[in-house]
Amino acid sequence: MQRIDVHPTHTYHQYKLRCGKPFPFGATLVPGGINFSIYSSYATSCILVLFEKHAKEPLIEIPFPTEFRIGNVYCMIVFDLDYENLEYGYRMDGPNDFKEGHWFDKSKILMDPYARSIGGRDVWGVTPDWQDIYQHRSRIAFDDFDWEDDCLLEIPPEDQIIYEMHVRSFTRHPSSGIKEKHQGTFAGILEKIPYFKELGINTIELMPIYEFDEFENSRLNPETGELLVNYWGYSTVGFFAPKTGYAATGKYGMQVDEFKNLVKTLHKHGIEVILDVVFNHTAEGNEKGPTISFRGIDNKTYYMLTPEGYYFNFSGTGNTLNCNNPIVRGMVLDCLRYWAAEYHIDGFRFDLAAILGRDPWGYPLTNPPLLESLAFDPILAKCKLIAEAWDAGGLYQVGSFPAYGRWAEWNGKYRDSIRKFLKGDGNVGEVAQRLQGSPDLYAASGRSPATSINFITCHDGFTLMDLVSYNQKQNIANGENNNDGSNDNDSWNCGVEGPTDDPQILSLRYRQIKNAIVMLMVSQGVPMILMGDEFGRTKNGNNNTYCHDNELNWLNWNLLSKNHELFRFTKAMIAFRNAHPVLRNTHHFQNKDYVGSGLPDISWHGTQAWQADWSSSHIIAFMLCGKHAKQGTIADERIYVAFNMHWQAHYFELPRTLEGKKWYIFANTGVASPMDINSPGNEIMIDNQSGLFLRERSAVILIAR
């Protein structure tokens, strides 16, 4: 006995139809057919356009009957479709009036904003057919992946060690050792899981993996004739689909399974996955950009428009998604819920998140509904939410981002303070705050140290090696006369601009990199490492490589052996952090003894024990009492860390250890490898227990046992 509700009620040519269900939006498999549902408040009519995969011309165009429109939603079930071999899109008719913000044009075929799989750029870098009438094609995806017993890892935030990476950059270089057909793909990352395990990180943060068009604004570099592309992908075509060109199986339309399998396998190895998501703008750009989807469906709803009908540009990329419009807000929420539920994503990092707190006219809201909705969402309840708490429109909210007790932040102030200290600016006061998890920014509002995502480098800006090798950005290769990219790099080249064979400068650069890694790994909060910094990745001083599909971005794995001492050092520092809960507190320090250990949870020192040199400003040392680890709930060892960022050596008097305990050295960046660092548990007792010399620009870590 067949169910009555799966019987067609209408026919159009040979196609059998029935009024659809308005929810969920998108295309959903239902018994015997597909339910198509799309929203537009200003359209006057809508046509469903069906193609066979890759076909130049449509298979059929089916107008939605008037009775299939529910409110502002067009919904229809079409029966007996070969859903594996199907692409679909829409034509929308309605007003076309620039000043009013209406862009309806029924000559254009529009991609479904809810498309869960997108064709048209199936293999990375293959030049598109620009004559094709439908560039980015919605396809059907299947939700039948077998997750077995997989669920989110729920690693406590303060225990995360994040590794920021780009799918293609990480896996594309011939030296990666990855099977050639897997280079540049999700499948390639699978082959590198043993590397993550060896390094010791437990979270990877992927730069955008939602479908984007690498050919967006592609152009030839006037200098070299090389093709510059939208390489990083901070420009979304479809929010519900993984980038097909990032999947080795993309040519078979299997990218959904390939990406899910990557997440599942990473989870099996104890590694969380955070996605870098870009909800501040879309790939449609400004009024000169292509009409892909939103613009032709409901321009006025999806974008922030000026009174003259132009696009507000708070993102610096042409348009601004109107995130606090209830419809758009709904889409963002649907999207994140989908990735959390269907892809088991552990967390999201929101690009230029300050925009998400602006009202439709661009003014910052005191209580942004979108941020609140995300913070309290039942499906996202176990996901990490991380904000890049600024935007290109000048809104800077580090420390004041509307957090609702849920949002962590990329701490831009951490980056700036640490960089300045590293090059010798003598700003110990603010560095002391940064090392403690920035209580000056977060403690008063009751936000934990893990609110602070601590980073010195990220995809934007210099790599760590370039930070100690260049005073000036070298962005000529981007074809914009070195005008693009940040000028505020707080970098120092250690004496020579760029490459050098001067052994003293090279050794100072190594030392500075190690100093930076020490600072990052002993700071309260959540450390984030940029891919490749653990073995001296360079981009030749280019601090804005968003457009290069070449060795400027591809991680050269040959550097792993060349700079092995950096890798060894980073790995040992990560192991040290993982071994010591006192570095991963859940609450801010109180600067007092509250467990009766006889020592405050944190104390500050300088060249004299118990006397911090706040005035000398290039020197700082601190001691953590192990009995206060995780607020006294767990026993750890006492740790002493000293930084001498001065250009002269200094003698540091050590605080006395308890009766029967001695100071052991874990790391000293001032001595040559392999004596620069030990492995946790194999520290070496120091001869002079009352003090030690720190050479110029070096750092030391001791433990008492």
Partner: protein
């Protein structure tokens, strides 16, 4: 799509020839499902299958689930390198026992 079925002792061997896609996958399912009986031993010989779409992979998965539910054994022989790679990176491969040749598979069944 051609499917030939033969029985050797208590082994059932199904040999497939052709591509498996959305149009041929249902045909394969229709032919293979009836032989998935409790404690059956089935070898799916795919040496002559050059291409398999996601519908083909999903068909294999559904046959696998049927056979697990029936306590029967279903193994696959002769996956092309490309199909095997696709199955590996999409997570399908781990659900199956695969062998490179019919001889190897029959030997395993006989021990």
């Amino acid at each position: 799509m051609q499917i030939s079925l033969q029985t050797i002792d208590d082994l059932q061997i199904a040999s497939l020839t052709g591509d498996i896609d959305a149009s041929t996958a249902p045909i394969v399912t229709e032919q293979i499902l009836p032989i998935i009986k409790p404690s059956a031993k089935i070898i799916l010989d795919m040496t002559k299958v050059a291409y398999m779409s996601s519908a083909g992979l999903r068909m294999l998965l559904s046959l696998h689930r049927q056979s697990t539910g029936q306590n029967s054994i279903l193994v696959i022989v002769g996956l092309s390198e490309d199909v095997q790679d696709t199955m590996a990176v999409t997570g399908f491969l781990s659900f199956f026992k695969t062998y490179s040749s019919l001889e190897e598979a029959t030997t395993v069944f006989q021990t």
